[in-house]
Amino acid sequence: MNIYDILFWVLSATAVGCALGVILSRNPVTSVLFLILTFFSISGHYLLMNAQFLAIVNIIVYAGAIMVLFLFVIMLMNLNADVEPQKGQLVQLAGVISGGVLFLVLLAAIKTAVPVTVDKTSIDIGLIANLGKVLFKDYVLPFEISSVLFLSSMVGAVVIGKKEDGVAAKADA
């Protein structure tokens, strides 16, 4: 058992344990912190697989931007006061059972998959120079379209999030 395998098992245990913490903790702020830990361990997996660019982007975009947005919204709504009404026991049980059944079905589907040893020789695939060449040669159009997507989602977020004058006037009257 070399260092690669040890790191794989440690990171996997961290990821799964923190993912369970996300769905089991009562406090939404704790859930967010657990999810950030999960993203960090997934970034560790990316580093193990020599995907350095994706590891950094995962930390910056997910742990840095998206989770801060979540945390900001939770703090804004003052949800940290653990007031969430719980679903009934029956519904929770049904959720766990259906999730577990999905897990078993997919497990049965992939259990006969031929295991391929992870190739440790190709180390330069995940470097930003290589990825940038592929991105700007083969994926220029999706790249440009994603910028339009960002613009439209930004406009949409502002339009949805801004206070409606009619509602505010009605509330004042």
Binding site: A65, I74, L79
Partner: protein
């Protein structure tokens, strides 16, 4: 026992199933949204592992685009949740059942 593609398949499957369970179990809209992010990350992990196994950079570009779409989705989705909170002063999804009646 060296780490193989099956290990990554099982890990991604486990994370994805935890995301599904969280989506079905919780009532808080924000937690449900976070579980969807968890499922997206499970898929990303699997794509990166296959990109490593087959020495193919295209899969990593797909992961990059998934992250882009997830960021846009989070911006719009959180705006919708904030608007919902402003209207009904709760993020409980069981309030949103008016389509049923």
């Amino acid at each position: 026992m060296p780490v193989t593609s099956t290990h990554y398949l099982f890990l991604s499957l486990l994370l994805f199933s935890i995301g599904i369970m969280g989506t079905l179990m919780r009532r808080n809209a924000i937690i449900i949204f976070m579980c969807i992010e968890l499922m997206l990350n499970a898929v990303n992990l699997l794509l990166v592992s296959f990109s490593k196994i087959y020495a193919d950079p295209n899969a990593q570009l797909f992961v990059f685009f998934i992250m882009v779409v997830a960021a846009a989705e989070v911006a719009v989705g959180l705006a919708i949740i904030v608007m919902m909170y402003r209207k009904v002063h709760s993020v409980d999804i069981n309030i949103l059942n008016r389509l049923k009646h």
